[in-house]
Structures are given as structure tokens and as C-alpha cells.
């Protein structure tokens, strides 16, 4: 199966986030979020924050929310494992947090190391009260992105937009 063009789908996601007034994009670099972050770097009204570790992005989203701004955090699935304790802010404080998680360790993965954390992404997020919206097919992306934005910023939820390897394509080794 052909993987969708990353530049094209990244632009769709980025444009929807900007339309929803998201101004702060924090991230740990991943192949999957490269273009979203590049667009956020180049856009006049958005700012990117390079994180040391993914959980910082959860706290940054919460801090931005305290002063009425919208923020997302982009990470590879392995980074979800760094986040649970900081996600207390979501479950206990009802901070609306939007995570964009690009998957490793699921459909078609060839790296042994990626499977343990990849398979734990959904259970960990669910355990910490974060709603998981998963995209497996290109035609699901637009509505899923809209649903994630609504759930976070209108519905006041912690949400993860999870882009699976069925959608992204698996990394070749």
C-alpha cells in the first residue's frame, strides 16, 4: 500500500490547527512530525518549542492554557511513555491538552525495540484519561483532526491524535 504524501497530510493538519488558533507547537523531533513543525516554524503566528523530553510539552500546553492560549505537543509514540505523570494535569486538572502522536511499534514495524512502547500507547493514554483518536486511513484524517481539535479546545479534554503506521507507512530498515 502506498503511504500518503507527508507534506500533503501535514499541511491539512497544520492548517486546521492554525484555523483553531493554536499558536504554540512543542515537539520532540520525529519523521512523522517534521513537516508540521517546519510549517509552524515558518508561519507568522505560530511558534515551535524544541523539547528535551516529551512530558515538558504536556506542561507547556497546560501553562499556555492558564493564560488562554492553545498549544499542541507533537511526539513519536515512544515519547508517550515519558508523559504519564505530567498527564495528571489532564485527569486531575481538566487541562485541555492536544497530543499529536506519530506511531512506531505497530502495523508493519521491523524494529524489536519499538514494539513494547508502541503497543502500550493506547493503554497508557487511556489510563491517564486522554481520549485516543486514531487515524489508520488517509480519508479519516480530516475528520479525525477536527474531532481532536473539538474535543480538546471546545470539549475540554486531553486528546491524542494518533497517526498509526497503517496510515503513515512503516519505517524501512
Amino acid at each position: 500500500m502506498r503511504a500518503p504524501d507527508r507534506k500533503v497530510w501535514s499541511k491539512l493538519v497544520f492548517d486546521k490547527l492554525v484555523d483553531a488558533d493554536v499558536s504554540l507547537f512543542s515537539y520532540v523531533p520525529d519523521f512523522g512530525n517534521t513537516d508540521i513543525i517546519k510549517m509552524a516554524d515558518e508561519h507568522n503566528e505560530t511558534q515551535t518549542v524544541l523539547l528535551t523530553s516529551e512530558e515538558e510539552g504536556i506542561a507547556i500546553c497546560a501553562g499556555a492554557d492558564l493564560v488562554g492560549q492553545r498549544s499542541v505537543v507533537c511526539m513519536q509514540s515512544s515519547g508517550v511513555g515519558n508523559c504519564p505523570n505530567y498527564l495528571s494535569l489532564v485527569k486531575g486538572g481538566r487541562f485541555p491538552i492536544l497530543m499529536i502522536v506519530t506511531m512506531r511499534g505497530d502495523y508493519g514495524e521491523e524494529n524489536h525495540w519499538q514494539y513494547p512502547m508502541g503497543q502500550a500507547v493506547a493503554p497508557i493514554l487511556e489510563a491517564m484519561g486522554v481520549l485516543v483518536i486514531q487515524v489508520d486511513r488517509e480519508d479519516e484524517l480530516e475528520h479525525a483532526t477536527e474531532a481532536a481539535i473539538s474535543a480538546a479546545y471546545t470539549g475540554g479534554q486531553g486528546v491524542a491524535l494518533v497517526l498509526s503506521q497503517k496510515f503513515l507507512g512503516a519505517k524501512a530498515f
Binding site: V49, T52, A59, L66, V67, G68, N85
Partner: protein, 195 residues
């Protein structure tokens, strides 16, 4: 050995707490900030998510660049999120000050000695991370210097306040973070409307 009694620290070096939006980390740091502001609406205190204070303050500072933002954490918490100093330095928010109240131990869990009582130098770590302004204090004689550092030194700033091992401010703050989020947000957004 520090000659600063920790309950004297914040009232002396932050004489106008209402000029700041304040995020403070779990345990003693938040007892001290809650005492300072009477658990005010410009303060969000934590009692969990250890390590997150510096990053959360960064989020506030980036999202509200015209506001002076202060984060206050203990040495144990700061070490747990130490990478955030690099994240702050990369962004260079000039409106952001980080205060570490360092008693050299995990007082909340029984006083177990921490890294700063052994070999760790937080000023060197902050400098290595790229924070432009750093001040270390361990005497009340430096309170005046610290006060002007917080407002006048080129931001972002890191104040390493070494204190003695006395208990933190006796203050019972509100632990309901969902309620405190609302109080902080509402106060800030209402305030902005008046401007």
C-alpha cells in the same frame, strides 16, 4: 552552609508578588508561594507531576509574553525536570524567571539528602543549559541583589537560592487543581479585558 531561613526568602526577594504570574512546584516551594500570595489567583501550585514546574512556567511565559512569569521549585523537583532548563534557554523568554529554593534535601519525604548536598552545582547546570542570567545566593545579605536580579537581569533568569533546612511556610493551600485552573484563567483573562 546557607544562612537564609527559607520562610524569609520569598517575602524579601519578591516584594510585589502581584506583578507576576507564578507557577510553583510540589511540596515546600508551593507552601512558600501560597504563603506569599495568600494562595492568590495569580498562582498555580502543584502537588504532583513532579518535575513539570519549569516547563509549565515556560508555557505561561511564551503564551503571555507581556507578563512577568515566575516559577518556583525545590531542588528535588528541579533536578527531575532539569532538561527543561535547556528548553527554556533555546526559547529565551525574556519575561521568565526560575527560582530554585534549594534546601539540599527531599524534606517532604523525610529529609533524604539530594544531589545538591552532594556534588551537583545548579548554577553550572543552568549555565551549561544556556540560561543567560544566573545568581546564587546563600545569605540574607544578598536579598537586595536577588530582588533586582529577578526584575532587571536579562531574561530568562535562574536564581539558585540556597536555604537552611528549616520547614517551609506553614500554609494550607487548595489542592483542587481543576478549580485552581479555573481561578487562575478567569482572573488572568478578566484582567486582560480591563486592559
Amino acid at each position: 552552609m546557607s544562612t537564609i531561613n527559607r520562610t524569609d526568602l520569598l517575602p524579601n526577594i519578591v516584594p510585589k508578588p502581584n506583578d507576576f504570574l507564578i507557577i510553583s512546584g510540589l511540596a515546600g516551594a508551593s507552601k512558600d508561594t501560597a504563603g506569599l500570595t495568600d494562595d492568590g489567583s495569580n498562582l498555580f501550585t502543584m502537588a504532583g507531576a513532579m518535575g513539570s514546574t519549569v516547563a509549565m512556567g515556560l508555557g505561561v511565559a511564551l503564551a503571555a509574553p507581556k507578563q512577568a512569569v515566575l516559577s518556583v521549585s525545590g531542588d528535588g523537583e528541579l533536578m527531575m525536570g532539569i532538561g527543561s532548563l535547556a528548553t527554556v534557554a533555546s526559547m529565551m523568554p525574556v519575561n521568565y524567571t526560575i527560582i530554585c529554593i534549594d534546601n539540599g534535601m527531599h524534606a517532604e519525604t523525610g529529609g533524604q539528602l539530594g544531589h545538591t548536598s552532594r556534588r551537583t552545582n545548579l548554577a553550572v547546570m543552568a549555565d551549561g543549559a544556556g540560561i543567560p542570567s544566573i545568581l546564587e545566593i546563600d545569605s540574607p545579605n544578598q536579598f537586595l541583589e536577588a530582588t533586582s536580579f529577578i526584575t532587571d537581569a536579562p531574561g530568562p533568569r535562574f536564581l539558585w537560592a540556597r536555604v537552611n533546612t528549616d520547614p517551609p511556610t506553614a500554609y494550607k493551600r487548595d489542592f483542587n487543581l481543576a478549580v485552581r485552573r479555573q481561578i487562575f484563567r478567569t482572573a488572568f483573562l478578566e484582567d486582560k479585558k480591563i486592559d
